[in-house]
Symmetry: C2
Subunit: 293 residues, 2 copies
């Protein structure tokens, strides 16, 4: 594997930092390559702002002008399209481009963070906001003109794993736990980010009871993480349904015959077999592929 | 109402900025008070770092020392406890304290943002990470020694509303839509943040198709927002179950008799009536109340 490990914890002596070192050591021992983006150590700029976005070129007979010259005082910042223009015409910051190059290189993305307010810390959310831009990670079109999303997209061909830690006990994150099933809590990442951009999301690796973990408990989690990483190349991802696989209609809702009595987020998990014609491996499309040297 | 309106969009000429002006004007016309935290305009610091956290005092006979003096070179940054110490002993930054004072003043919190990667922009995630600290918003205990969460907590007695915008069409965010039901997508905010800290979460107000909205479409949403805000004081919040209301057991999972065949996040919605003994209004506890002058 070629693993890009995005790490978002402010403390290098944290449980999570120790786990990352275990994981990287396991990857090296198994002959895999890895690169790390330690967002706090890098001083990653979390906030998407005007410097990430380019205004539209003024209308003219020449088509779009170079973007540095096209930024008028009246230009209104529109985020999706403005990020795409910056991506296409060289207007992105070097920090963003470097992360995109790492993603283009990788076949495996790991997002590793403590669960804060049931999601990633702001610094990691800002990595997603600024790096996964339209035209690179999503917003691409297939040969039939339809937008590639959910199973296809600029990052297709990659697997993606969340490694996270929660102070609470595991039972509270089960199917009937008060916090919600961990896969539902992480839906915006697993389905809305990984799967949306074409990456294959794997079952998250979660350290529970992180605030009260004993040394023996830590060693058990470290061992499980090493085993998990060794098996990752052979592991089946979560079987989310592909948008263009036949299960959704033109309004992007599940067809009546699919999980007819189902409700909740699990209706988007296919069961494999004949009702899941999209079971073939996801294809890599343009997007990140264009950046690979 | 006393409304604290947290706004997170980088462009003052955006659809969302226009909607906020409509909303604030409606609140004023209806005789409500409001305060605004426009996070981009304020240059809000998104990233929780060592400056938000205080190290533990060295052990000694005097109990905890003033925190400014207790920060040893070997101190390991532990986020939850470190933020609580900073809150209790005056070690927080003035930006964080000011937001906590606004929350203490408010009876209604509005989080208003464009949906980026199915969640709030990093600058708003960082507001949650830095402002809603242990000891202020959560981690408080009731008279019986149990932790107050989910229906009770430091911010109890307040209502909370998400106003957001999505580029996609509404059908994709329905119960069988590919993006997931909007209430499930927003679970980390509605249940994991609002309800967790004791606030009463209301049905989110979502602008769909935001990238293609016509002027007439905008006016319709603006009218609906005004109506929604006028009715907000009389509106029932989402009926999530209280942690201490009798529906959950000691492992924080739903008791077998509650929604026995249910699965997914909606099992945490009570139906009112006799199986929901917690239907009484949430009580305000310590937490934010301590900050109110």
């Amino acid at each position: 594997m070629k693993v890009l490990w995005i790490f978002a914890h402010p403390e290098q002596r944290s449980l999570n930092a120790s786990l990352m070192r275990e994981g990287l050591s396991e990857l090296a021992a198994s002959g895999h390559e890895s690169r790390v983006s330690d967002l706090y150590a890098m001083g990653w700029k979390a906030v998407l702002d005007a410097s990430d976005v380019h205004a539209p070129a003024p209308p003219g007979p020449q088509g779009p002008a170079p973007l540095a010259a096209s930024r008028g005082a009246d230009a209104r910042l529109t985020v999706g399209a403005g990020q795409e223009r910056a991506f296409l015409y060289g207007g992105q910051g070097e920090d963003v481009r470097e992360e995109q190059r790492k993603l283009a290189w990788a076949d495996t993305l790991i997002l590793h963070f403590p669960l804060w307010w049931f999601g990633p810390p702001a610094i990691l959310k800002g990595w997603l906001d600024r790096v996964l831009v339209q035209g690179f990670a999503f917003g691409l079109r297939g040969d039939d003109g339809r937008t590639l999303r959910y199973g296809e997209g600029g990052l297709a061909g990659r697997r993606a794993l969340v490694i996270t830690s929660a102070g609470a006990r595991e039972s509270g994150f089960g199917p009937r736990g008060v916090h919600g099933d961990i896969r539902h809590v992480l839906w915006p990442l697993l389905h809305g980010t990984f799967w949306y951009t074409g990456m294959a999301p794997h079952e998250p690796f979660t350290v529970y009871g992180a605030d009260r973990l004993t040394e023996a408990g830590y060693r058990a989690y470290a061992r499980r993480l090493r085993e998990r990483l060794r098996g990752l190349p052979y592991e089946e991802p979560l079987p989310y349904r592909s948008e263009r696989g036949g299960d959704y209609d033109g309004r992007l809702t599940l067809r009546p015959g699919i999980a007819p009595d189902g409700e909740g987020l699990d209706v988007h998990l296919g069961r494999g077999g004949p009702d899941r014609p999209d079971a073939a491996p996801v294809r890599e499309t343009c997007g990140a592929a264009a950046l690979r040297g």
